[in-house]
Point group: C2
Chain length 704, copies 2
Amino acid sequence: MRFPTLSKSKSPLFKSPLSYFKSFSSSIPKSPLPFSSPSFRYLSSVPSTSTEKMSKDKSFDRSAMESILTKRFFYVPSFSIYGGVAGLYDYGPIGSALQQNLINIWRQHFVIEEDMLEIDGAIITPAEVLKTSGHVDKFTDLMSKDTVTLEVFRADHLVEAVLEARLESDLAARTAEAQISKDSANALSQKKQKGSKPPVKLSDDIVNEYNEILAKIDNYNKIELSEIITKHDIRNPATNNTLTPPVEFNLMFESFIGPTGTHKGYLRPETAQAQFVNFSRLLEFNNQKMPFASAMVGKSFRNEISPRSGLLRVREFNMAEVEHFVDPENKAHKKFSEVANIKVRLLAAKTQEKGSTELTEMTIGDAVAQKIIDNQTLGYFIGRIYLYLIKIGIDPEKLRFRQHMSNEMAHYACDCWDAEIKSSYGWIECVGCADRSAFDLTVHSKKTKEKLVVRENLETPLIYDAFVCNINKKVFGPTFKQNAKPIQDHLESLSQSELESLKQQLDSQNSVTIQLKDNSSYEITSNMMTIDKQTFKESVREYTPNVIEPSFGIGRILYSLLEHSFCVRPDAELRAVFKFNPVVAPFKVLVLPLSGHDSFQPFLLSVARSLRSKGVPARVDDAASASIGRRYARNDELGIPFAITVDFQTVSENTITLRERDSTSQVRGPIEDILNTCVELVNGVSTWSSISQKFQSVSPSTEE
Amino acid sequence: MRFPTLSKSKSPLFKSPLSYFKSFSSSIPKSPLPFSSPSFRYLSSVPSTSTEKMSKDKSFDRSAMESILTKRFFYVPSFSIYGGVAGLYDYGPIGSALQQNLINIWRQHFVIEEDMLEIDGAIITPAEVLKTSGHVDKFTDLMSKDTVTLEVFRADHLVEAVLEARLESDLAARTAEAQISKDSANALSQKKQKGSKPPVKLSDDIVNEYNEILAKIDNYNKIELSEIITKHDIRNPATNNTLTPPVEFNLMFESFIGPTGTHKGYLRPETAQAQFVNFSRLLEFNNQKMPFASAMVGKSFRNEISPRSGLLRVREFNMAEVEHFVDPENKAHKKFSEVANIKVRLLAAKTQEKGSTELTEMTIGDAVAQKIIDNQTLGYFIGRIYLYLIKIGIDPEKLRFRQHMSNEMAHYACDCWDAEIKSSYGWIECVGCADRSAFDLTVHSKKTKEKLVVRENLETPLIYDAFVCNINKKVFGPTFKQNAKPIQDHLESLSQSELESLKQQLDSQNSVTIQLKDNSSYEITSNMMTIDKQTFKESVREYTPNVIEPSFGIGRILYSLLEHSFCVRPDAELRAVFKFNPVVAPFKVLVLPLSGHDSFQPFLLSVARSLRSKGVPARVDDAASASIGRRYARNDELGIPFAITVDFQTVSENTITLRERDSTSQVRGPIEDILNTCVELVNGVSTWSSISQKFQSVSPSTEE
């Protein structure tokens, strides 16, 4: 994962390296800081995509979901008995299994099916490597401090929060004004009773200026942001103290390797570098064949200034990254036809440049044919990313591919698309897919002097003529002595046209005078050297591959999936359910007895054991104190897709019931048959509709 | 994983916390430092287990294996194009897949089959947590520096290497002496010609002293080690400079969380702490039922002073740890009968204390019955560890369980067994299995004031009588005013017998005088207070669970498995093969064409695709330039268990051949049948001997 940015400054001057080192987070919505209530943003006079990204899903009750996530230990702040640490989370049994399943499906979908070379590189990375890649100098965010309390803020976030709060207050004032003029002062006094600060109306000019700043908030450099803070008197809202001018803060965690305290290292901010530095070994492993892809799954680290938005902006996170190495002169993909007919929702750069966020639904084949997507390989990965996200349960209606605009794209990229998933936080970048050219291989190669190139035998050798100097060493050496080497170096540095003119001179005058860089001159005669035209034949082509990099933020995908899976049963108690599909569900089968009767126990154990031995995670809930209805409900909260109940008929007839979570419909059948069916359902070999005809349907337990 | 140690000092005085914070490494053999050639050690006059652990497998050619590991990119030093970093390794496609398979099988064997609660906690850990657990103060090794070059050494390793080199030199001198007296000076002069330093003979007393030091090398504290360095004039062998006295070096990587530079954190040295601090949530998730186990797989970090021995002592490594929480008063295990008949090789503490290293083969049932293994739960996990290691392919002849001796066991442990695997480095601790009592839960609870306990409803409530003070607040309060609270606190702190005697006094004299800690005295009269005997009923028992902790070093297991799987075909070319079983093998099936004929390509692609879609990693080797024999050979080096060949019969008859790696025998059958058979073989549903009868046997390709 590189550092995709949103709406970078439109000035080409700002395409400095800074722009491609913004953190993998800029498309995170501007979620409320503690002192700013959720708000919508005025439409700026210049419509911007970030406005669109802010639109929240109002129908979704995030706090209801979050209370279940915490109560059922999906994930919690790390070390919470010690007060917790911002931006660090511990995944409990459900979160951990969900994460593992997302990774396993990813491995099957990418590594195995695409025959990628997965590696597992070190987390601790020497400073030198990250200096070369640019991270040491450029992987920074801007930070301001409260001048009195010294509390630290990410400067752009603070400006944003303050301006949003002011705009919100202005909106309230305008609404109240309208109300007053319409139907007395009633509304205003009601508003005031809520205990919020009295709304402050702004001038129209200021509203426009604030909106313009918000639309460009990701783009400002240190000086610009400092000017905005001064001009608009941005302060710490909690203390009303002024702020220090923003300074760069490097987002990498620093440490020292070994006992001497001199060998500096960092925790990797991405998994990509380990793949680049191993390029030659990977190519060798692939029997020198191109194109090929490496892959890596693992933790990366970013020391965020002020982490927020739950799993969306954290200090430690799992990524899965692919580096697909490809011939820069041929980015066709041999399996492209397999994704060409997939329809995806695209938000192309051109559309955004027109100020629109309208999605275009089209096939990947058409998008590549029309050059909306730059090349087949990029298109192929967009298709595979789409298939992966749909497979795990992302709602296709809430998935779009947004192309980077030219002003937000890193200088090395010729095209970049983000898979953005919509949640209550807005459209979140969850997968980046960039064509990164040869940037990293080139810089590492330059730094280490190791060739990171492909050598390709040419089917038709390249044949060409060229002028060369043929030196008669017996005369040349003794004539020029210690100057022979510099003179020879100079001759070798000459271009073909310079050699040609030298040859004409030498041929006509039998002598030439050359001048070195230090202004010394030497006369070379034709008995010392001739310049001749020779024919050359090259049968090997050497090139630095380009890299196409699909990069997945597992935590962000996981969080989006939680929102897309969360729903409420439309019954009296509004019970919460996570509708995980069987492939991603942490536990696949719930096993429970109808009651606490002793005769059920051996069946529970043997059923659970049989499922587990077949690799099916099963949860037993035999708490005699809870009704079967309550036990169904509390396990619905864990998203368990199937439930097996052991009852008196099990004891007398050796049959069990199987319940499907979403429909709550149930069938009954012999134990062995039901268990085998479970394995099929869980592995996606069968579906509920296909199997429910095979068994006797039963009415749900009266207790449910 | 805790920090199991070997042969700690025999003095009970040394059972300070230091002893349980030795790094997870002490049973690593004393492998040669660059300046010390491989050596065997004299048998000490007091036989010691560490002597036995040193015995190397002389028949195994480690360098032959290592050259293949590097050439085929199993794993390599990280960032090697930048010169590499000691103790950091990148796993290539084979090493990475092998590691992933070991972890997947572990998850199936432990987490799913045993219904453990797997979590995924943060790597970055606040200093406060590791201060409580003892790591900040005690997780250290002793370090000495060359007084001139300032080169850094792990002090115990350096002493060991120097003494071993001196003993080796002594042995050479004694051998030479014996030779001279036997058959002229020939042998000695030959020895000298090898360019090694002239051997130096030591006195018998010195030899004995050195051997005694070596036997106890893991036990010395800072002062003792310093004395040894001085007394025996230990120097840096490379420079002959003296050394600084040893000082403690903390093995944790340090960093700062957030931008302020004040919130210190460390990279976790083990995964255990995240499980302990989440104990209450885990218990809640398990519906308050005991016993239960949590589990975690992930990277841990130890900033070793001088990493060595390849994957065996590294700075960053994957662990898999189980924390099984159990009632301290009942360590029976309900599934114990399932492992009771497993025979394991035990090296009990008693045997070692007699100076023997003889293994006892016995069933786990007998070992628990005879109290050799302390309890059923510990025995159950030893059985499960055994089954896991055998399942992945560890040679049972090279696996033993060694019990910690009382002098090497941490103070909280009542029993501890290491699964040790024999390789060319000697017996290596690969899994620790300790009964850790309530140590961690107690210290975290004390520090955070969070109760980390189990509350258990008692079936039979506990009924008992006790004396209590009943205070008449209306009189007591006004009488003592601001002193009422301290007096009441004092009364509440009294024991039952003190209360009883107070009651007698009060009943007989209608008044008592009590004295507080500050020596102030107060008279209490019977109108202010009565002391009465009351009956109490407790229906809840509260206790801190004990923890049984099986802890797996994945890298060490992986390395041991490589050695146990490495062999050489007894043919002319001595081709190397890794005999991975199908479950752990990185690639399961090799797909190759008989030759470069065009008609084979579509079959290759469809066979590979079909296997991959079924989750079977397949490698295609269609390099037309290499003979099929050469291609078999180079893929044997990757340990691929099965190979499918596409040949002219495939094109004409739709059949393919399937070759089994170890026997090199081959069968032929219709494509679909062979592919389905492959899936069965890979998943362990079928074996080669069972399937080879189903198909037509074919003679191996003449090219092989």
